[in-house]
Subunit: 233 residues, 2 copies
C-alpha cells in the first residue's frame, strides 16, 4: 500500500497538518487564554490560537513544543494533545487537519516581550472574542478537558508559580470550575493530598496579614499521579 499510495493525494490536492495551541494562564484570580492577531489568510486580522504546520520530519508533539518555546521562551511548558480537528471545511483555504494541544502556563514565568512581539494578548476566559476558523470550538473542548482532568490529576498546579499561597490555589480552581469553593473544605482536601510544603515566607500582595507561601513536594506529587487520585471538589 505504501508504494501504490505514495501519490494518493496527488491528483486531488494536498493534505496539510497543523497543530494549534490552547494556552491557558492564570493571573489576578482569573483564568486566561493567550490569543494572537492573525497575520495570514484566512481570517487575517481576527484573533486566533497560535499554531503552525507540522514539518514533514517533525513529530506532532515536537511541533507543539517548538511553537510554545517560540512564543513563551520556556522549553518545558506543560501541554497535552486534545484531539484532531478534521472537518473538510474547517479551513476555507485548503484541506488542513489541525491537532489541538492545550497548554498550561505560569503567567509569571513567561517572557513577556516574546509574547508581545507576537501580537499576543491574554484574554479573560469569559470575555473571549470570536476566534478564527474553528478555534472557539477548540477552546471550549479544551476547557472541558481541563475541568475533567483537574479531577483526577493535580493538573491545576501547573498553572501556578513556583511558590504560591493556598488562596491562590483556590482561586485557580474557582476559575477553572467557575464557582465559589468553601475555603475550609478546600484546605482540608488539599492538605489530605500531602503534596504541599509550607514555607516560612508570606505573600503580602493581596492582604495585610499575608498568606503563607507553599511549594510542591514533587516526590509525593509524582506518587500521587501514579496511584490515581481524586480531586473532586
Amino acid at each position: 500500500m505504501a508504494k501504490q499510495l505514495i501519490d494518493y493525494y496527488s491528483h486531488i490536492g494536498k493534505m496539510y497538518v497543523a497543530t494549534d495551541c490552547i494556552i491557558f494562564g492564570f493571573d489576578s484570580g482569573e483564568l486566561k487564554l493567550l490569543v494572537f492577531k492573525r497575520r495570514v489568510e484566512p481570517n487575517k486580522g481576527l484573533w486566533s490560537l497560535i499554531g503552525s504546520f507540522v514539518e514533514i520530519d517533525e513529530d506532532v508533539d515536537k511541533a507543539a513544543s517548538r511553537i510554545l518555546k517560540e512564543i513563551t521562551g520556556i522549553s518545558n511548558v506543560f501541554f497535552e494533545q486534545l484531539m484532531a480537528y478534521g472537518k473538510v471545511e474547517r479551513d476555507p483555504g485548503y484541506r488542513c487537519i489541525s491537532i489541538a494541544q492545550y497548554a498550561l502556563i505560569r503567567i509569571d514565568d513567561y517572557d513577556e516581550k516574546l509574547v508581545e512581539s507576537h501580537g499576543a494578548f491574554w484574554y479573560k476566559f469569559e470575555d473571549l472574542p470570536t476566534l478564527a476558523l474553528d478555534h472557539n470550538l477548540m477552546v471550549l473542548d479544551g476547557l472541558k478537558r481541563l475541568r475533567r482532568r483537574a479531577k483526577y490529576q493535580p493538573i491545576g498546579f501547573e498553572l501556578l508559580p513556583e511558590k504560591f499561597t493556598i488562596p491562590q490555589l483556590q482561586a485557580l480552581y474557582e476559575a477553572i470550575y467557575q464557582r465559589k469553593l468553601d475555603s475550609r473544605n478546600f484546605r482540608k482536601k488539599v492538605n489530605s493530598l500531602n503534596v504541599l510544603i509550607k514555607l516560612d515566607e508570606k505573600d503580602k500582595t493581596s492582604s495585610k496579614r499575608g498568606a503563607y507561601l507553599h511549594k510542591f513536594n514533587h516526590e509525593n506529587y509524582n506518587k500521587l499521579l501514579l496511584s490515581g487520585f481524586n480531586f473532586e471538589i
Copy 2:
C-alpha cells in the same frame, strides 16, 4: 500563509492522514477487540487495527464512519475520536499521521460475513497479539479512555444488545475494569440511575431460572448525559 504554503510539503515529501479504528466488542462475558490480518506493507501479515487514508474531501469522522460501515455493515456504530498519533517514525513507509477512533459494538448486531470477508477476528482483550505499527499503543490508550469515560457516561451500555440482563451489564463492567464487582452494590447503583426499564421477558440462555431482560429509557438516559453523572463502581 495559505498561498505561500500551498506547496509547503512539496520539496520534502507528502503528509498522509489516516484514521484507525479500535473496535471494542463484548461477548460471552468478555471484552474483545476486532483485529485484521494486514494485507499491505509495512507489516503485511501482522494483525492490525482497521484503518484507511482520509480522503481529501472527506471529514475525518466521516472516514471513520465509512470504515466502520464497510466492516460491520452497521451505519450508526458508536465511535469517538481518541487522539492523533503523529510520531515521524510511527510508519516506516512514509509520513503518515493517524487519528485513532474507538468504537463500541454490540457483537450481536454486526454482519458476521462482512467481518469474515475482511480477514477479521475478535481477539479476547487479554490475549491480544502484537499489532502493526503503533497499534498496540493505540489500543492501550483506547482502553484507558474507555475506563475513564465509563465513569461519567453510561458508555458501556453501547456495547449491549437492545435487550439485556443485569448480569450481562455487570459482566460488561467487570470486563472493562478487569475486576469482580459485588452484584448487590452493582444493582443498587444501576437502579439509582433510573435508566433501565424492566421487561416481562426473561433470558434463559445463561441460567435455568432466567434473568429479566431490560431495555433503556432513552429519555432519562439523555437527561443523565447532560446533568453529568457518576458511575464510580
